[in-house]
Amino acid sequence: MISLNHFLAVGAVLFGLGLAGFLTRRNLITLFLCAELMLQGVVLNFLAFGRMHGSLNGQVFGLFIITVAACEAGLGLALFLMLYRRGRSLDSGIWQTLREQGVPAAVDSEALPTVVAEVHPVLTVAGRKPGVGTPAEGASRV
């Protein structure tokens, strides 16, 4: 039988995943989605407790959380837009100049993997006679 603790556990896991993502990810939009993930976990907790007590107050709390999430989304996306205009990047790491004095700068030690551009095969041009009497070219064709 599904009990209160099952729902609480799911809420806790959602919150923890969102927390881990919020702490580590560097793309501002992913950060925003991780914060929303945490809010989902909290709403789940409220609803489960409300269901256990047989009252609707938990659902009312859920509605208010959605309201706050909407405010957060509006402000957050406006902030991202402004940051993007200034820095031309969604990377939160470029704003580490805002850190306090004495805090060491985070340095990306590992180099990003370089992607080798795909080499497309070059087809021989059709409709032209091959050069006659040039053995070097003939040898390279074979």
Binding site: L56, M82, I94, L112
Partner: protein, 368 residues
């Protein structure tokens, strides 16, 4: 004909024959292959097999469906949440987040919150579309980039997140012995929702409703009174309304030592308070029935009040299953108890809108 159809052997044979036919029609071969007919036969076979199983081996669905749905939705929410956190591409992350929302909305529905489910789907559908727009507008990177392919302290961050999960789950584990214990009615103490009416009680209440329906269907005032009396007797028997016998006595006996002692921590147990509140509701319903019955006995029973009583009993019989009138009750609660909070939420939205415009608005002379 219906008796023949309800014969389990016939059902089994029919289902198996239809299944074999469907499989034969669907198997690839050069001639006489029909996908439509074969699919239809297979679906019909499955349906008949389902009827056969439920009729012959009992109804497994009642307990099974919520369990299966819970595992499906919770696995979906957690799995897509993990995908969102670990996904490189923010657009794919937004899709994963959409699935997290859908799964958790399924969980909301299991928690008897249909209005919140609909509201969440509608609001987050818009939010996710806007997120997509932002990804398309702002994220024009090709190849590996700092923001998508690097994490800030991945080891410490994931340790922090999972340490949090561990903390919560450990706290839940500590409270587990209380969960496993059952009260004398054999129901788990932390079962969702707090148990008051047992299954038998609900069945009895539905019987009362049937009686009231019958009373409403008759025209003779005398027989209306008789039917209402029998409904009253059944209701009184169900909740132990008369004297000190029956269920009400046991309820009060269980509550009195707990509520009287202010040092007892379970005095503040909201579950217990809900229990007491529901008991009071039932008592009030029983008193209502008594009044109506007395009125009916005097030949003054009017059908409108009986109808109202019937509706109330219907709600009580569903008590503990699903809160009836979800939307209406949420609205009532919002604009009575939480009116101040509603106003504050509105103000918050207004301030957030102004703030968003002020932050994102392009200033004159700003060419960037």
């Amino acid at each position: 004909m219906p008796t023949e159809l309800s014969d389990p052997k016939l059902q089994l044979a029919f289902a198996l024959a239809l299944g074999a036919l469907g499989a034969y029609l669907l198997l690839p071969k050069p001639k006489s292959r029909s996908v439509a007919l074969g699919t239809f036969a297979l679906v019909a076979a499955l349906a008949i097999l389902g009827i056969f199983v439920t009729q012959s081996f009992g109804q497994p669905i009642g307990e099974l469906v919520p369990d299966v749905l819970f595992w499906l939705f919770s696995t979906g929410a957690v799995g897509f949440g993990a995908l969102l956190v670990t996904q490189r591409n923010p657009a794919r992350g937004a899709i994963a987040f959409a699935f997290v929302i859908l799964s958790s909305c399924g969980l909301f529905l299991l928690l008897a919150a249909p209005f919140l489910m609909a509201a969440t789907i509608i609001i987050y559908a818009g939010a996710i579309i806007v997120t997509f727009l932002f990804v398309l507008m702002l994220s024009n990177v090709k190849g590996p980039s700092n923001e998508n392919d690097r994490s800030r302290e991945p080891l410490l961050g994931s340790l922090a997140g999972f340490a949090f999960i561990g903390l919560i789950l450990f706290a839940l584990l500590q409270s587990q012995p209380a969960v496993a214990s059952t009260d004398e009615s054999g129901e788990a103490e932390f079962a969702l929702p707090a148990p008051l009416l047992t299954k038998d009680d609900r069945v009895a209440l539905r019987d009362v409703r049937t009686d009231l329906d019958a009373a409403l269907a008759t025209d003779d005032a005398k027989s209306v009174g008789e039917k209402a009396k029998s409904a009253h007797d059944k209701l009184a028997e169900t909740i132990g309304g008369d004297g000190v016998t029956g269920r009400r006595k046991t309820v009060l006996e269980r509550l009195r030592p707990l509520l009287g002692d202010s040092k007892n921590p379970s005095t503040h147990d909201p579950r217990l308070l809900a229990f007491a509140k529901q008991t009071l509701q039932l008592q009030r319903a029983n008193d209502d029935v008594e009044v109506k019955y007395l009125m009916a006995d005097a030949g003054r029973a009017d059908k409108a009040s009986l109808q109202k009583l019937r509706d109330e009993v219907t709600v009580y019989s569903g008590n503990g299953q699903l809160p009836a009138r979800n939307v209406g009750n949420i609205g009532l609660l919002l604009y009575s108890e939480h009116l101040l909070a509603v106003e504050m939420a509105g103000t918050l939205l207004l301030v957030a809108t102004i703030g968003a415009v002020a932050i994102a608005g392009r200033k004159k002379g700003d060419n960037s």
